[in-house]
Symmetry: C2
Subunit: 467 residues, 2 copies
């Protein structure tokens, strides 16, 4: 029996706002289907964020490759009594035939920059708006949140503990994947482990302790089964007493040639409890037993714990990562920037958009640190824009890459490990002031002279569109 929690590939085209379909139908009826370019980006950085990390692009490309309205979808659309038989026939044979230029996943980006550009017959580019925003938006928010955590963890291991608090099923997979590319050590999510090959970790539940007549017996039972997964949860009752019991068990394990991997603190005053726990473990000669902490942690609390030298070796991050709690959504937009070869833009108050197909040029100094970005036009190149940087860059790299052409992927799907490495290099090349958790410095991202000129000329034209 089909269950509501499932999502079939053939349902993805219906996971859309109705207006994408009505607008597409009106384009179809009036023959407006020349090449158009849409640009997906973030209008402004979310509060407290100095940078963003691109993610979700691979999933979008995959969805575009397999974008099909099946018979059931067409039957449903027919039942709405809104669409002509000709348009429904068009949808029934729909294949995405456009081009995608995008930032490789893991690339750092800033406000006003194209993350994904769809260049396709207008109707195709229109239809995929909702799913593009839905997928790239949250994946990028989650990757950014995770990168902030990794940035302050000073090498301590971070594990995604988000599935229970995520907003639905799909979000758990997105969070696991985004956090892994951002440098998390692994996830608790078994399905994400299967899908992506991400290392999967788990400790034990309070219920396991509570179901036993004594905490000690619960610890012993668990170790009996999982000597290699021996992370004991010590805060069901009195935490310090729990650590003492775990230490006794650890000492006995050691006598049998086994190792107590870790104890886990999930509540209470973590700096204080972790110090007491460390002392008890050390006294029991368990210096290599790690301390794992969880319980409403986020980048701010990790930073505090690290700064206070709390002896914690690894963190489980749940809610704050799972929903990107201090910035659960970003102001992502998907804007028409060119149609029939001419620039298009919105001019309404506060929502001025930037016309034209673009490239982002990132300048690096001789130490490899990013000095700033120039957002230019597609026909500009690293060599032509170099002189527009405030001081001469040692290297200029164009960031957007062509990923699909005529509906086919032209770049092999990257390994997660590669994305992860690229992301780490990108962050290493970013000035630490941009990476500060609070009140980060503003990264320099300006338009080239050519783009600036296009904005002015197209803005004048746009005003004439209300003749």
């Amino acid at each position: 029996m089909p269950i509501d929690l499932r999502l079939d590939a053939s349902e993805v085209p219906l996971l859309t706002d109705l207006y994408e379909l009505t607008v597409a139908a009106a384009f179809f009826a009036h023959g407006l289907n020349d090449a158009g370019s849409f640009e997906l980006g973030i209008r402004r950085l979310p509060p407290g964020r100095g940078y963003m990390i691109a993610a979700g692009v691979e999933r979008l490309i995959e969805a575009l490759e397999e974008y099909r309205f099946d018979e059931k979808a067409i039957a449903h659309l027919r039942s709405l009594d809104l669409f002509t038989p000709e348009f429904l026939d068009y949808l029934a044979s729909f294949r995405f035939s456009g081009a995608v230029r995008a930032l490789p996943e893991g690339t750092i980006f800033f406000a006003g920059q194209p993350v994904v550009e769809i260049h396709a017959p207008l109707i195709e580019a229109q239809l995929i708006e909702t799913i593009a925003l839905n997928q790239v938006g949250f994946a990028s928010m989650a990757a950014t949140k995770a990168a902030r955590c990794v940035g302050v963890a000073a090498g301590r291991r971070l594990i995604d503990f988000g599935p229970r608090r995520a907003q639905g099923a799909d979000a758990t997979l997105i969070t696991a994947r985004s956090s892994y590319i951002a440098g998390f050590h692994g996830t608790a999510n078994v399905l994400a482990g299967m899908r992506y090959g991400i290392p999967v970790f788990g400790t034990m539940s309070h219920s396991f302790i509570m179901a036993h007549e004594t905490e000690r017996k619960a610890f012993e039972d668990f170790i009996d089964n999982f000597p290699k997964l021996s992370t004991l949860l010590v805060d069901t009752y009195d935490t310090v007493r729990g650590v003492a019991i775990a230490s006794e068990i650890g000492a006995r394990m050691r006598a049998r040639g086994l190792k107590l991997q870790a104890i886990r603190l999930d509540s209470g005053d973590l700096p204080d409890l972790s110090r007491k726990a460390r002392r008890l473990l050390d006294q029991a000669n368990l210096k290599d037993t790690a301390i794992f902490a969880s319980g409403n942690l986020d980048e701010y609390k990790i930073a505090e714990l690290v700064d206070s030298s709390a002896p914690i070796d690894a963190f489980g991050i749940g809610t704050s990562l799972a929903v990107s709690d201090d910035a659960p959504a970003g102001d992502f937009t998907y804007k028409l920037v060119e149609y029939k070869g001419t620039g298009r833009l919105k001019t309404s108050a506060g929502k001025l958009s930037t016309p034209g197909r673009k490239q982002i040029f990132r300048g690096f100094n001789s130490s490899g640190i990013a000095m700033g970005d120039l957002i230019g036009l597609l026909d500009e190149s690293a060599s032509t824009v170099t002189r527009e940087f405030k001081s001469p860059p040692a290297k200029v790299t164009p960031l957007l890459e062509t990923m699909m052409e005529v509906g086919r992927r032209i770049m092999p799907r990257p390994e997660l490990a590669t994305i992860r490495t690229n992301l780490a290099s990108g962050l290493a090349a970013l000035d630490p002031r941009i990476k500060m958790l609070r009140r980060p410095a503003e990264y320099s991202a300006r338009q080239t002279a050519a783009l600036g000129a296009l904005v002015i000329s197209e803005k004048l034209k746009a005003e004439n569109r209300q003749a």
Copy 2:
């Protein structure tokens, strides 16, 4: 080709934290599989919330009915090299055989109350923890957010515009369903319309205007195709000028016996623009053309607009609903409350849980207003607890209902329309002070004497579990 965005029903059991499986395996190995009861509820109300709305229960029940580890799932678990062949065999033949008592969807609940109780062999109840929290948690957060919007909209229509900003695919369906049961008029989400029969609405995109040489031509083209969906988006360029053009078109439609349904404002100073728009429309004799507003609206802004008598007839709510932006996650827990017939609880600092299988008794006064709740034990009844209310209630209703027994649904799946009606009645019976957007009054929810006594006696016993 399978795409990452899909979710197969057979993958649902793997959408779990690893520890559910390791803990279950340890229970299995040690023969701990007597009947246990777990309780899903919220530890504290999210900031600013005076009440919560239960949702997601039906989806959970459906998932439990179809919970199967298929061959691929078992093969993956085997590959982790953590589980015994006996435990994998147990999983391969796993069927949920337990009972579910829960609040019918749409029921109002408060902190510390059971929303769902799973009473099942311990291993079964353990395994479903992650998916239960994931599904009931966000669905309830979204229903609550939506109810707050409906509560201040004073009868104006609200439409879910969330899909582009939701955290992944599944969240879009949850939001559409939860907001509809909370009184939204419909959703933009086509797939949610197909799945749930929710009315689907759409207007037009800025890209539609921008792709045309003039705004006027865009309006004319759209109306030509969708005379009954004639909501014109007027803020692509100068908004007031856009309204004037829309009014001219509306006047010509009227001359042809058609009606301009609405204009849509998506940016700018909505009180000011809506008044100017109303005046222009009225001057064009388009008094029945509605004004639709969208653009970063939430319950606070709706309340302001309604209070200021801005002439807005309907609102599209996107981001704030889609991610429940001011409270993106709730502090939901799933706690073992009874095992082998005896109460279980956590006693760690700040996380004291309440043992025992429970019932919630809601007292109503003679005007039908909810006076307060008593949380009692399963064997208490409305008549036995009546005298424990501070003043005598006219009626006492037990809230938790048995929905599944021995793994089978025993109540027919309710229609969304029924849930919607029950939810509206529940909210109508709630003191307005509890429903205030900011600093709501605290609803009275106490324990019965019998439950209080159980807490004390079990707490003493729990302290002995660290012998």
